[in-house]
Assembly symmetry: C2
Homo-oligomer: 198 residues x 2
Amino acid sequence: MPDEPTAEREPISRGAGARQRVLGAALRVLDEHGLAGFSMEAVARAAGASKATLYRHWPTAGALLVAAMDATFRPFPPPDTGHVRGDVAELLTAFVTLLRDTPFPRLLAAFIDAAERDPTLAALHADLTRRRREPMVAALVRGKERGELPDRLDPELTTDLLTSPFFYRRFVAHQPVPAGLVDEVIAGVLGPEPPGPG
Amino acid sequence: MPDEPTAEREPISRGAGARQRVLGAALRVLDEHGLAGFSMEAVARAAGASKATLYRHWPTAGALLVAAMDATFRPFPPPDTGHVRGDVAELLTAFVTLLRDTPFPRLLAAFIDAAERDPTLAALHADLTRRRREPMVAALVRGKERGELPDRLDPELTTDLLTSPFFYRRFVAHQPVPAGLVDEVIAGVLGPEPPGPG
């Protein structure tokens, strides 16, 4: 929900600007120095803010890191093409672009490694992932309600099946995503497209 | 193929023992000090070998690292249950155990992060992944030949779809693998099991 432009919200708007500046600085620190160089002190210096200000908003460096990733790479807007395969294709295509054209995958890779040694970071990352999945789960639930998908289909498992091949290709197989892979994955998981009406 | 115990092979056997010792030392160095502390010198010290010996076998630290992972976590033996769903279940179950009960995922996480900054390491990891996929691809090809799978099924894509949810769950969603997930993934990707004969 956008801030309402009332006098009462004004200070919050200013606060939101400062918050964005800190989050941007956090991502720069991470990109330049890796997780090893990520600390409240380094981010405060990069943002031109005091450590006390940072701690007022985020209790730990891990919480700040998750907030920075979350603010920069927001969940995709819920698609509404009117049919489930269109919605899924739109979400997966946006995800492929995110993996190909932004700093997101490099940050995610740093997270993956750090989470092995830091259970708090793993829990924060799990929560971030859960929120990022929501538009896909919602699209599949709508598809079931419209009778486009079988009743037995599990939206959570199907979200795993649809999205994980793109992570795998990027981080494990180190292969590019060829044009057409989104459609192939959808056909592989949801079955071949049924013939259209008329 | 096991070494034949002839006089002529003897020196190679001794060489293989030394090779295993170096590879074991490489994994210990990685586990204790992370990739940042992984160097030919550190591994030579841990193995009680000279750097020259290491360089005779592996041209770079990256090549040594891949060889160490490869020697420790060999591709699963090809299953032969007589039907494709049994073979796939056996391979995926072995993989779930590998992710749950061994140092493999921690090493893989370090790889994922390091590959973002080192294209040579990414290429080596891609090659390792390709070899690790072979038993699954072969099981699916056999399933097609036996008429258990549709002709249109792409064994490479299907291997992505079958294996990637387990990587995703471990490294991105940070969720345990519940009992039954292997069967659910197989049903989700290959379709519900057809009724058996009789």
